[in-house]
């Protein structure tokens, strides 16, 4: 989350990216001034039933040293103590985590606004009711097309009908649904229909953006990455859909690629943390740097580490190298302590 705002004027801050107008409006606080993160992205596990071509985390099997249930619940207490307002839990596939609901209930009772990001394949009617009872901020389901072929080409071993059914169960019970669409060569042409589909499913929001060349996406880049022309058309369609659905469904697309994001983050680090399944904390998705270990340090300490890490010459130098040579993003999952 970005932290830059005009006095009392409401300014959209979430990932505004390298927006020159917004930068000019900036004055005052940056992440250094914040006592704790405004947002935490927690990859609660690495196990997954799918083998998505684009998976940044290269999820599939559990890591050997993932947090225990007790450690996870302790982390929730620390998150509440630091008054972190907003979180997203993902994985792997978070519904494969045996204590997901326990963690979610604890965070909710601590007044944390929580989103769960899932492939939806384990959300049957009963599970949808459980989520409804929790009254979380939202559940985000990945639906990568309006045909099974498009969705399942990207989500290896995936089932489009199950993802659609999950969406329907969730909205049936009043859960706020968000739909995520990852563009690839073979489904990007469906984006307009995918937006319409999300609206029909009762989604609050439709989210998309350029696919990030991290993890399995980097390995499958040749078969994944749309052309620049395809991205231009994609963005045109999204702008039109944004106007069409104004006031009815939020359509959010992040138009910048990973390199533009990194240029921006060097100057304005996000006021957020990324927690990995083993309790280590990563500075940012595209960077390999670990700035803390929640097994050994408190969340409060890790937040201080994070702020200092963005000033670390090794981090700055490596980030600039990645900006000059984007292929270095392939290092993102070769974690190293900073």
């Amino acid at each position: 989350m970005d932290t830059l705002a005009e006095d009392k004027n409401l300014v959209r801050l979430t990932n505004p990216g390298p927006d020159d107008e917004l930068r000019q409006a900036v004055r005052g606080a940056n992440c250094d001034d914040y006592q704790s993160p405004l947002f935490i992205a927690w990859q609660i596990n690495s196990a997954c039933n799918l083998g998505c071509l684009h998976c940044c985390q290269e999820a599939g099997r559990s890591l050997p040293d993932e947090l225990t249930r007790k450690e996870a619940l302790d982390l929730c207490t620390q998150i509440a103590d630091l008054n972190v307002p907003y979180m997203a839990i993902s994985g792997g596939e978070p519904l494969l985590c045996p204590y997901l609901f326990e963690v979610s209930k604890l965070l909710k009772s601590s007044d944390v606004s929580l989103k769960i990001e899932t492939n939806g394949e384990f959300i049957d009617e009963q599970t949808a009711k459980r989520f409804a009872d929790l009254k979380l901020r939202s559940i985000q389901i990945s639906v990568d097309g309006v045909t099974a072929e498009a969705h399942e080409t990207l989500r290896k071993a995936g089932n489009w009908e199950k993802a659609i059914a999950a969406c329907k169960y969730l909205t049936k019970y009043g859960v706020i649904l968000e739909v995520v669409f990852v563009p690839a060569k073979f489904n990007i042409h469906q984006v307009g229909d995918a937006v319409d589909q999300a609206y029909t499913l009762g989604a609050y929001g439709f989210y998309t953006g350029k696919t990030m060349r991290i993890g399995r996406a980097a390995k499958n880049w040749d078969i994944l990455c749309p052309s620049e022309q395809e991205y231009e058309k994609f963005l045109e369609i999204l702008k039109a859909k944004e106007a069409e659905y104004q006031g009815r469904m939020k359509i959010y697309y992040y138009p910048y690629d990973i390199i533009e994001e990194l240029k921006y983050r060097l100057e304005y680090p996000s006021t957020s943390l990324m927690v990995l399944p083993n309790g280590k904390v990563k500075m940012a998705g595209p960077l390999p740097f670990i700035c803390g270990d929640l097994r050994k340090e408190s969340l409060k300490q890790v937040w201080q580490n994070y702020k200092k890490a963005w000033k670390n010459p090794e981090v700055i130098e490596f980030t600039k190298k990645v900006i000059d040579d984007p292929k270095l993003v392939a290092e993102a999952n070769n974690w190293r302590q900073i």
Partner: protein, 83 residues
């Protein structure tokens, strides 16, 4: 007047952060804004808020009223508060 369900408020050294976690909009306000938010949290209505702030702050009461009403309208228009 109440905060909407997804609104979270947090005080920092530099001001008070108001975060609509559904729309993901963030808003930073000063001490007077923080006072208004605090009074809304206590369940005060507009006349009570104006009365409290006029007593607390030096300055023209009409100017304070104008400022506070404008601020609350902004909170309403951005779904931070509901009436």
């Amino acid at each position: 007047m109440n905060f909407s369900e997804h609104t979270k408020i947090r005080k920092e050294k530099f001001g008070t952060v108001v975060f609509d976690t559904l729309t993901e909009k963030i808003f930073i306000t000063d001490q007077i804004g923080a006072d208004v938010l605090g009074l809304i949290e206590q369940g005060k209505d507009l006349p009570e808020i104006l009365s409290t702030l006029t007593a607390s702050y030096d300055g023209d009461s009409q100017a304070i009223e104008k400022d506070v009403v404008e601020f609350i309208e902004q909170l309403k228009s951005n779904d931070i508060v509901t009436v």
